[in-house]
Structure formats: structure tokens, C-alpha cells
Symmetry: C2
């Protein structure tokens, strides 16, 4: 094999291993093929797990030649796929399909003994014509079939030589490995995302179920989460948060669980129609510490717990449970505090009417630096006055 | 470079990409080095994130020669590491360390101008002597430093030739890529595991917090989870479960949440000292359907929900909420049913004493095929009679 091919293959293999997105990978491969072989166009069909079919992920030609884009999705019953699935021998080198070979096979006498193969080859010949393809190379990793390369004719109209076929064969097996590697990465990443969603969903559901015990606050948790997210987003724009991604993910969980400690407060107090006496208030006020107690065994929630424990602290130090003041109150709690207060003000309670949006905003503004952290108030107001 | 080296490199690179465990990878690399180069021994120091130091992961020699294993952990202040961290020029080829080179550099006049380098080289020379090493090759991926290869002398006692050095240089850069790839995989896998643990822990915590409202059942949820896991394990041994991993992970969550619907039952009913009247029983019996209702918005929990919804069904069809019978009751629910019943029997309730272990086992046996699924009873009894 030509030394330039060998070098191109080494370079491609080294670049491919670093790419963990299938689509980026495919682009790199097609570019490599078009750079090394002077062909009219090159395309690649890849199996798509979700769609259970082979999709033409990319097709490029130097002079605008392409596999017609109307033919972008084929099933495993399509001749091109069926042929490789049927005639691939595990462990053997990749089986190529070259139009000349197909033609000569079709003309040979032997083919009369296998009418099924004959029929398949005829269909295949037709299919390759439609793609304007001269050669098709399967992409196998061990016995796993990922798809097919399809190449147009060479610009000098000559047949493909041994060197070129070897190049394509090695490239195709490297591509198979790289695709497998990339799809394992993608699978893990998708799984990770799925688990994170399941986690948030399940906690939301349980938090709402717990909240349902407190008849007056229906939907409160969900709204506090929403307002908290809006505030966090604004704080990011104002560049007040380092490591925003992490902060937001903790904040979301903390907002979901901020009232979890109310599970320790008797139902008759939570649902009382009249105003509460001192003992009853004291019971309500235990909820941030009860919440902390419930969650404290979970190490990975230590940042979340700060939000749960301190969301009733006040900037002037007059809050509970610890009377922290100013910047000693963790930001995560300061955000929930404003979101929580706004929602409490704007929903009706048995002992008072709801404030309007404008009245609540005015109230929060008035309490900036008194009850609330001024930065959070600024973020809240700029987000909600839009 | 010799064609055999080139082929070995290609082969190694292709095998390395498939390996996603750093330790397996290292073994493959050392074997490749020992096969291709006739050296007395080869070792590899790799950076360990947790330990914040470079660990001698493997050291092998054909005649039992090795880097002494007492020297297995070195810090970034160790001359061998410090040298590469200080003198590596990004983007340039890997810097080698060969004992001859160090000696001649130490004898040159230029070295007098850089006393710091002189001191470092002297220490380094000592260190390589201790390792019986003639050559050290750093493992860099771009500017990320992963560790160092250390090789003993060649068996023919000659110096390393250009071909051998080129071989080592390419190998080391391929190794760097493979290690990076493998550690990305390991990171993702660890993250996934961590998230799964956090998920289970958080649900456990919330389920226990909810359970705490029902004063008589302290620890019930946790015990039902434990018993369910024991039963599942036994069912696996008896080959009664397909896709056991998945089944168990659903079962664990279902067992944790099986009584979640009790959050809809008023506290005074849950905590009543006297026996319950019909209306109160009816309220208790809503909990499987309430549980289903709570969890139903979460698509990914559909298997889990079966356990929650049907854990009070009976094999004879006399259970609730739907009166399913026999094999129509999902296995996940049949397991929880036995675990739940055993725990209820063996703990004291206000209206009756606890049964002993033997009495409860006898009761469950008696109800095999009546209240309980016979396979689950078998699994339970063989696990618990041991």
C-alpha cells in the first residue's frame, strides 16, 4: 500500500478515537475518503437504533454529485443491507461490492445454482445505479454491522486498484471501531441524562405528594422551583455565580425539597383555618432544621441542604433557624427565600388575600437588604419586570 | 522504522481503543513493549486522581527483573515527574530521558549556567539507577501529563537506536490517547454509579420521612427492601428471573415506594390505637392506587409502579385493588407482597403481638398458592432457612 495511504490511515485512526460524537466522526471520515481517493462522491449509511433503519448520514461530492437525498432511509430488507447481512462471514475480511464484480458474477454460470443470490444481486445492481455508486464497503465491528460506505466512480473512470481497496478496507474497520467507541460514549451520556431526569422527576413527585398534605399550598413547590430557576438564570447573566451549572442543579433540588421538613409538622397545624398560636408557629418554624435532619445522611446533597436549612434566614439576621445575616447566608438559600416569599405573597391564604404581582414586587424591593439579599432582589426584578 | 514495529503499533493502537479499563490497558501496553523490544524490564507510572500521585501500576521483566515494588508511589515533586513537568514544551515531540544523555549533559559546560537543571538531573540520575532504568518516556496527551514509561537496559547491552526510540515515541502518544479515552469512560461510569446511588439514597430518605408519619411502622420500608433483595437474589439462583439486574433495580425502588400512597391516608387513621372500622379500612386500602396515581406521571417508573399498585393482590384473587390472581400478578409485586407480610407479622402492632420468625415462616408456607406466589415463597424459605 502507498505510504501516503498508510499515513492517512494512521492520522485518521488517531483523530477518530478522540471524537465521541457519531456525526462529527462521519464528517471526518467522508473528508478523509474524498481527500485520499479521487471519486465523484461518497456517502455513508449508518444504522439508527431509534429508527431501526439505515440512514444516509452524509453524502458529499466535489462537484455537487451526491446520493439523491430522497433515498436517505433504507431498511434491513433493502438489497444493499440484506446482501451484507446474508453473505458476511464472521472473522473474514470485509466483503466488497463493486459494480464490475456484480456484473461478472451475474454473467457466470454458477449463479444459476443460487436463484436467491441472483435475484438479490440484480436488485442490488439497480440500487447502486440509483446511488451512482461503483463500490460499497460494509462497516463491521466483529459481527456487529453498523452500515455501509457508498462511493461513486473514480474521476479518471478507471477501476479501483488493490491499494485503494486495501485502504478502504482498513479505513472501514477503523471506522467501525471508532463508531462503536463513540456510540458507547453516546449511550453512557444518554443514560446519565436519563438518570438525572428520573432523579429530578421522582423527587418532584414525592415533594408534591408531601406538599399535598398541606392543603393551602397546592403547586407551591413547583412554582418556587420555576422562580428559582429564573432568578439563577438572571444571576448568570449578571455574572454573579461561579460554576453555574452545578449551582443550578443543586438549586433545583433544594427548591424541590425546601419544605420537606414540614412532614414533621402535624396536619392539623398545617391545615388550620384560624391564625396560629405561638406553640403552633414554633412547630412550623422547625421545618428547616427537620428538613436538614432528613437529608443530612446523604453526603452528595450537602450543598442542597444549605438551601433547605437556611431558606428562612433574613439578610438583617432576624430570620431562623440560626439568625445568619448578609453574605453568611448561602446564595442557594437566598434565592429560594425570594422565590418562596413571592409565591406566598401572590397566592391566597385562609387568613389573607393574595397580593397582585406589582404589589409583591414592591414588597420585595422594599425588603432588599432587610429580608432579602440585594443581588437576588435585583436579579428577580430584572427578570420579572421584562 | 522497521515494518514489524509499524505493524505492532497499528495492532496495539487498534486493540487499545477497545479497552475501557485503564488497568487492562496498561497490561496490554507493557506486553507490547516487552514483545517488541528486548529489554530487561518495563514499568509504567500513572497519575492517580484520588491519591494525587503517580503510581507504579505495573512492572514486568522477562527474568523477574522489576522496578522495586517499594518505590511504587511518587509525587509530582519526584525528579522523574518534575523533570517532564518542567521541561516539556507543548506541541513538541516527547522528551526522552536516556541515562547516557543525562550523563553527557551533566558533563557539558552549558549545565553550569543552569544550576537548578543540574541539581534535578543529578537527582534524576540517581532515581533511574534505583529503578535500574536506562530510559524514561513521558506519556502526554496534548498538554495533559499522564505518567512515565520506565525501561531497563537492552539485553544486548547496546544503546537504544532511532527505530526503537521512534517506536516508543509513537507508542507513548497512542497510549496517552487510549488512557484518556479509557479514563473518560471510567469517569462517566463512576458518575453514572454515583447518580444511581444518590437516586436510591434520596428516595429511601424521602420514603422513610413519609413513613415516619405512621408511628407503628418505623423501619418497615427499609426491612421490606432488604427482604425483597434477598428473595430476588434467591430467585436468580433458581433461574426464575430474566434480566435480573434490571428487575432488581426496579424492585428496590418499588419496595422503597410501596407504601407511598399512605401519604393520602389521614394521620389519625394510620396512628389509631384501636382496631379500625370499615370506612377507615377502606381508606387504608386506597394506598396502592394512590401510590400508582402519585408515580404515574413518571414514564421510566412504569415497572416500579406495578410493584406499588399490586403488592396487596393475593394469588387466589381475593386481594386488592383489582383482585388479580395467579400469574397475572406481576412478579415484582409478588415479591414485595411476601416481604411486606413477613415484616408485618414479625413486628408488634398496637392490636397484636409479633410472631416469631418460625411462626411467620409457617404462616407464609401455609399461604403459598393462597395468598402468595409459590415461587416467591420457595425463594423466601430457602433463603431464610439457611
Amino acid at each position: 500500500m502507498k505510504i501516503t495511504y498508510r499515513k492517512e490511515l494512521e492520522k485518521a485512526a488517531r483523530r477518530m478515537i478522540l471524537i465521541h460524537r457519531t456525526d462529527t466522526l462521519i464528517k471526518l471520515i467522508i473528508r478523509t475518503v474524498l481527500r485520499c481517493l479521487k471519486v465523484s462522491h461518497a456517502g455513508i449509511f449508518l444504522f439508527d437504533q431509534q429508527k431501526k433503519s439505515y440512514i444516509l448520514t452524509i453524502s458529499q461530492g466535489k462537484k455537487g454529485t451526491k446520493v439523491p437525498s430522497g433515498l436517505i432511509k433504507i431498511s434491513s430488507e433493502s438489497p444493499l443491507i440484506k446482501y451484507f447481512l446474508t453473505y458476511h462471514v464472521p472473522g473474514h475480511d470485509n466483503l466488497f461490492l463493486i459494480t464490475e464484480r456484480i456484473q461478472s458474477r451475474l454473467k457466470s454460470k454458477k449463479i444459476l445454482e443460487s436463484p436467491e443470490e441472483k435475484k438479490l444481486l440484480e436488485q442490488l445492481h439497480q440500487q447502486l445505479k440509483v446511488y451512482k455508486a461503483r463500490i460499497a464497503i460494509p462497516i463491521f465491528f466483529r459481527d456487529e454491522f453498523f452500515g455501509v460506505f457508498v462511493l461513486g466512480e473514480k474521476k479518471d473512470k478507471k477501476s479501483f486498484g488493490t491499494d485503494e481497496l486495501t485502504f478502504l478496507s482498513i479505513l472501514s474497520s477503523d471506522v467501525a471501531m471508532a463508531i462503536r467507541n463513540a456510540s458507547l460514549f453516546e449511550d453512557l451520556t444518554i443514560q446519565l441524562e436519563k438518570n438525572q431526569n428520573l432523579f429530578v422527576q421522582t423527587i418532584s413527585t414525592l415533594a408534591e405528594a408531601i406538599e399535598a398534605k398541606d392543603h393551602y399550598t397546592s403547586g407551591h413547590t413547583k412554582r418556587v422551583v420555576d422562580y428559582s430557576m429564573v432568578i439563577a438564570n438572571q444571576l448568570r447573566k449578571m455574572r454573579k455565580i461561579r460554576n453555574w451549572e452545578e449551582f443550578t442543579s443543586h438549586l433545583r433540588i433544594a427548591a424541590l425539597l425546601h419544605d420537606i421538613g414540614k412532614i414533621g409538622v402535624p396536619e392539623q397545624i398545617l391545615n388550620k383555618q384560624e391564625s396560629l398560636n405561638e406553640t403552633e408557629w414554633a412547630s412550623i418554624k422547625t421545618h428547616p432544621l427537620v428538613g436538614e435532619g432528613i437529608l443530612s445522611p446523604i453526603k452528595d446533597l450537602n450543598q442542597v441542604i444549605l438551601g433547605v436549612k437556611y431558606h428562612h434566614e433574613r439578610y438583617d439576621g432576624e430570620g431562623y433557624p440560626q439568625g445568619l445575616s448578609g453574605k453568611k447566608i448561602p446564595m442557594i438559600a437566598a434565592v429560594i427565600s425570594v422565590a418562596d416569599a413571592y409565591d406566598a405573597m401572590t397566592t391566597e391564604r385562609p387568613y389573607r388575600k393574595a397580593l397582585t404581582h406589582d404589589e409583591a414586587i414592591a414588597e420585595i424591593k422594599k425588603n432588599s437588604g432587610v429580608q432579602f439579599h440585594p443581588q437576588v432582589v435585583n436579579a428577580f426584578i430584572s427578570a420579572f419586570s421584562r
